[in-house]
């Protein structure tokens, strides 16, 4: 439990959030009341991406770092080259299906159900002009020259994560399929594309593994204020006070329009919290273990 979810609002602490929160009746800033943040499909998608990503990393790393001392050990854990390959392709297919399903779902909601705000607007994953301003303000805040940016539904670093996964899955999925079915691929592609596919698959994997297990882990879970993990993606809701502090712009918009009332949910049950903590801890631990193996291999390579 982070301090943000239990403690009453700190009087006068966030200068930036003050104008909006000061005008609201105290009952709304009840830290024990929660606001829905991630619906069930989104949470499921995160768990599927998380599981397959860990599995793909663990089964792909032996090949990417084939000269590391742990490479053969890790491959043997999955039944050798054959078993690891089988697991890798299975997870790859599941991840591809999940991401394709997600994209289909977003398109369906937008164009069939005519939902607004998915492709553009404050709650959209699509980068908005405000994100550039937020980044600029965040950097200024790092430098001690201004307040924190007032974040909307998704912060710019969250959007970066999202698009990185989408882009990475599409690219690595395509490259992976070429490597999986080279003879079929060669009906349309020249053979040197296998070289490019393997290179891109490996380079993009290095980027993705490093990014998820370091940057995403830090931004999403490990940084002060979130440590050891942000439970919202597992339980689906966020404490009202946390929302106000973390996403001042969203909180102000929801309060202003009254939309926040429709989003109010009871706090997560102890069982849901426990389940989330187990899944989160497992993911974080395995991810950190894998990134440590890579650091070890890269440091060893540099030392040689």
């Amino acid at each position: 439990m982070t301090s943000a979810t239990l403690q009453p609002p700190v009087p006068g602490a966030p200068a930036a959030a003050a104008p909006d929160t000061a005008a609201l009746p105290p009952a709304i800033i009840d830290d024990h009341a929660h606001v829905a943040r991630f619906d069930r499909p989104t949470r499921l998608l995160h768990v599927v991406v998380m599981t397959t990503f860990l599995g793909l990393s663990a089964t792909g790393m032996p090949l990417l770092f084939s000269d590391a001392w742990w490479a053969r050990l890790l491959a043997t854990l999955f039944g050798g080259f054959h078993g690891a390959g089988l697991v890798h392709r299975t997870f790859g297919a599941v991840l591809l299906a999940a991401v394709a399903g997600h994209v289909g779902h977003v398109l369906y909601r937008t164009f069939v159900r005519r939902e607004k705000g998915l492709l553009w607007g404050p709650t959209s994953m699509v980068p908005q002009p405000k994100d550039a301003v937020d980044l600029y303000m965040q950097l200024k805040w790092f430098a001690g020259r201004g307040p924190r940016p007032r974040i909307e539904h998704f912060a710019y670093w969250e959007k970066f994560d999202y698009w990185a996964v989408l882009w990475g899955t599409a690219l690595m999925g395509a490259a992976g399929l070429v490597l999986w079915f080279p003879v079929a691929a060669s009906r349309v592609l020249p053979g040197w594309m296998f070289n490019v596919a393997l290179f891109v698959h490996g380079a993009e994997a290095s980027l993705a593994i490093g990014f998820i297990f370091v940057v995403h882990f830090f931004n999403g879970h490990l940084r002060p204020g979130k440590f050891p993990m942000d439970m919202a993606i597992f339980t689906g809701s966020v404490a009202t006070g946390e929302l106000r502090d973390e996403r001042a712009a969203e909180f102000a918009r929801l309060s202003r329009t009254g939309a926040i009332d429709a989003l109010r949910v009871p706090p997560p049950t102890a069982a849901a919290l426990r389940r989330g903590r187990i899944v989160g801890t497992l993911g974080l631990t395995l991810g950190i273990a894998l990134i440590l193996l890579i650091f070890y291999a890269v440091a060893g390579g540099l030392a040689l």
């Binding site: 090949l63 000269d67 070289n195 980027l207 931004n219 502090d245």
Partner: protein, 326 residues
């Protein structure tokens, strides 16, 4: 009667004593042996020659040794038994004998009972053993294919047609002969994963850059990991019959690539074989796409990690300074 018995006993003792003294004579010198074996026409009762060319022996690497140093059982009684033990090379060459003993050759000879399987003398000779640096030696580098070919005639025929034999004939230093890939004494089976993977490293002792580029491929990475289901050097280039790609008969010639790749990838076509089994992303001439992909990721990866690494570090620093909810 008692006295006569006593005298008889004394005589018996004397005779027995002198007989005992006779059974451990001083070991014969080489000249003693050559008294019989020096005659070029000397034969055993069954007609097998027993002659030893004393001159060849004296000039051999063992010339300073006595006959009985190797044929110990020839020195124990005279005349020595008809059948002597095989010279025990291992009594001096312990290390080499151990390697040989674990080898395919020793297995064939000692366990499988293959009469043609070689022991020391079959490759090194007997009384004419010369140092491997001696050009007349059977185990001199250039002569090794002929020595091995005495049994493996079919293999040497292929080898002789290949690039490696050509390099040896051309006088290229360290051009490989049989023992460079197969080892000298510790010769093993060639159908094991262990051998197939180890021989790739052996190719790399000369073709370092080629093996390094191979290691960038899926084939190279899987084999480096210790699994041999995928192609290693010999699977594409051949083993004994390696030919330059320019030669149409080569397994890696343009004319035969579809066939060669097709042995593992049935259905491989002309487009498929445009695959580069030895890529080098920093060499533009080997492929522009690889070069650009390499450039792109060399910017993207450090760029992403650099920016977000700094972003995270500053974030940590700022929250530690100002408090988590600032």
């Amino acid at each position: 009667m008692r006295i006569r018995l006593g005298l008889f006993a004394m005589a018996a003792c004397l005779i027995a004593g002198s007989a005992a003294a006779q059974s451990v004579p001083a070991p014969p010198g080489n000249d003693d042996c050559l008294a019989c074996h020096g005659d070029a026409d000397s034969k055993r009762p069954d007609g097998r020659p027993i002659a030893v060319d004393a001159k060849r022996f004296d000039t051999s690497i063992h010339g300073a040794l006595g006959c009985v140093d190797c044929h110990a059982d020839a020195g124990r009684e005279r005349p020595h038994p008809d059948k002597l033990a095989t010279a025990a090379c291992g009594s001096c060459h312990e290390d080499v004998a151990g390697k040989y003993h674990d080898s395919m050759h020793a297995w064939a000879k000692e366990k499988a009972g293959l009469v043609g399987a070689p022991a020391c003398a079959d490759c090194h000779g007997k009384h004419d053993i010369a140092a491997k640096s001696d050009k007349t030696s059977r185990v001199y580098r250039d002569r090794i294919p002929a020595t091995c070919g005495a049994c493996h005639a079919g293999v040497v025929e292929k080898y002789d047609a290949g690039v490696h034999a050509a390099a040896v004939k051309h006088g290229t230093a360290n051009a490989p002969v049989c023992i460079d890939c197969h080892n000298t004494h510790a010769i093993t089976r060639t159908d094991t994963d262990k051998w197939r993977l180890a021989v790739t490293a052996e190719c790399g002792t000369c073709h370092a850059k080629v093996v390094a580029s191979f290691r960038r491929t899926f084939h190279g990475k899987v084999t480096e990991l210790g699994f041999s289901r995928v192609a290693a050097c010999a699977d594409c280039h051949g083993a004994h019959d390696i030919l330059p790609a320019a030669n149409a008969a080569s397994k890696v010639s343009k004319a035969r690539l579809v066939e060669t790749c097709g042995t593992c990838h049935p259905g491989a076509n002309e487009k498929f074989v445009q695959y580069d089994p030895h890529p080098n992303p920093s060499d533009y001439s080997r492929g522009a796409a690889m070069w650009w992909a390499n450039r792109f990721y060399w910017l993207l990866i450090p760029g992403c990690f650099g920016f977000f690494g700094l972003h995270s570090a500053l974030w940590y620093w700022r929250t530690k300074r100002d408090g988590e909810r600032s």
